[in-house]
């Protein structure tokens, strides 16, 4: 029963990281408001309330393998409705960050590939370059034909620009990407 959500499986690593990030999960009394309000929970393998309980116990391996943290749409309904002020959407952000930092395979590789493609584009141009980002995403995922019709419809309506709109001082944005994580 290594898969059970149980205090017997607890570890201190994740709770320490949560504390350091100012995310307090210990007040959760499993009322379920986060999970009742979540618009995507029907697609989740762990409910938001289970995510919080796993965080309390520090059972990070289950969380890191889960689809839930990648399918969370960051709508912040859970954070807004938690009667104990737990920033559950913030917890999801932290869990994703730790999967990427530990170079583990994301439960939804396409979602991770989208974020990566998006941020690469921002790093390079200082702003989002949709056409370039879409190309990079399709190369990363091999999803060449998905949304082809939509892409063409957007192109013909002038919604997709072929050329990037770059900012002048791109170096400043590159520096932000390089320096991140460094606390001054």
């Amino acid at each position: 029963m290594s898969e059970a959500i149980s205090p017997k499986q607890s570890s201190a690593h994740l709770p320490a990281a949560l504390k350091q990030a100012g995310l307090d999960v210990e007040a959760c009394y499993q009322c379920g408001r986060c999970s009742a309000g979540c618009p995507v929970s029907a697609c989740f393998d762990l409910l938001p309330m289970q995510v919080v309980r796993l965080c309390v116990y520090g059972q990070e391996d289950l969380l890191q393998r889960s689809q839930t943290i990648w399918l969370c749409a960051a709508c912040e309904t859970c954070t807004t409705r938690c009667p104990n002020g737990i920033d559950i959407a913030g917890v999801m952000d932290l869990l994703r960050r730790r999967v990427l930092a530990q170079k583990l395979k994301p439960g939804q590789p396409r979602v991770a590939a989208f974020h990566k493609s998006f941020l690469r584009s921002v790093r390079r141009w200082g702003r989002t370059y949709e056409a370039g980002m879409l190309g990079a995403y399709k190369l990363r995922t091999g999803d060449f034909f998905g949304d082809l019709k939509l892409g063409l419809a957007m192109l013909s309506r002038g919604k997709l620009r072929m050329l990037p709109r770059r900012i002048r001082r791109r170096r400043e944005v590159k520096k932000i990407f390089k320096q991140k994580g460094k606390i001054e």
Partner: protein, 275 residues
């Protein structure tokens, strides 16, 4: 009134009609907009979803660029609005950590709808309407990030917001009472998981239809793109930016060019209410 303006990436690309209509409406109600020079992407939503530090720093650069002007910053995109607000709070809370010990902004970050639904601006809008949108039943869809979490957005009625309802009412349209005003449309997943986006958008559009609405009204470019592109193909509801409807009622004219960028053509619907 003069405001700094942060359009955000969507308004220079997929939602150019939003940028255009916001600038038009600002002119109509006497707001002068000055775009923040050399602004960069705020990172929403990919930055904060994978790297908190990066997200704050990307948004912080924009705040620092806005600081010398010292004017409130108007942000039409709900996602950018929420990210800039978050960064503003983070910088104020711990300026040393972010290396901005001189961050003492005299400005607030404001979203379009709370601004335009203020009584004084509603009055100005109402005075300039030349052709009321009578008979147009709309479902005002607020989505997530202009409201949640309220500790960041400052929203008061975050479970039952009224701003878009007040604006559309002032134009003579009929905002319906409905269930999905603040249900997420999953815009951040729409590329990687269009199946989920289709399911959520379809729920929202059906709820609007059940309440008798003929169109959706939004104030977020992500919601707009997602609601337009992920509805099922049989009789999708047109989706308007609130600012587009303001311009429509003020100019009294609906032209083909005006709706050129919409994926769901609203001209048939507008024709049925006399435009």
């Amino acid at each position: 009134m003069r405001l700094s303006y942060y359009p955000g990436c969507s308004l220079t690309g997929t939602a150019r009609e939003y940028d255009h209509s916001v600038r038009e409406v600002a002119r109509l109600v006497g707001i002068e907009l000055s775009e923040i020079p050399d602004w960069n992407c705020c990172g929403a939503s990919s930055a904060h979803m994978t790297d908190h530090e990066l997200a704050i720093r990307l948004s912080a650069r924009n705040l620092l660029l806005a600081q010398p002007e010292g004017r409130d910053v108007l942000v039409p995109c709900a996602a950018c609005f929420q990210r800039l607000r978050r960064a503003d709070l983070a910088l104020k809370k711990d300026p040393k950590r972010w290396g901005v010990s001189d961050y003492r902004p005299s400005f607030k970050i404001v979203h379009v709808t709370p601004l335009l639904s203020r009584p004084d601006f509603l009055l100005k809008i109402r005075e300039q309407v030349t052709r009321r949108l009578s008979g147009l039943r709309v479902a005002c869809y607020y989505g997530c990030l202009s409201l949640r979490p309220p500790a960041v957005t400052g929203a008061v009625r975050y479970e039952d917001p009224r701003g878009l309802d007040l604006i559309t009412e002032a134009l003579g349209a009929e905002p319906v009472s409905w269930s999905h005003k603040t249900e997420c449309c999953s815009g951040s997943l729409t590329m990687a998981r269009p199946d989920i986006a289709r399911a959520l958008v379809s729920d929202i559009a059906k709820a609007a239809g059940r309440a008798g609405a003929q169109a959706l009204v939004v104030d977020c470019p992500m919601c707009h793109a997602n609601l337009e592109s992920r509805q099922s193909d049989d009789s999708p509801l047109p989706v308007f930016f609130a600012t587009e409807l303001i311009n429509l009622a003020v100019t009294g004219k609906s032209t083909r060019k005006q709706w050129r960028q919409h994926l769901v053509d609203p001209r048939h619907l507008l024709g049925s209410v006399g435009f």
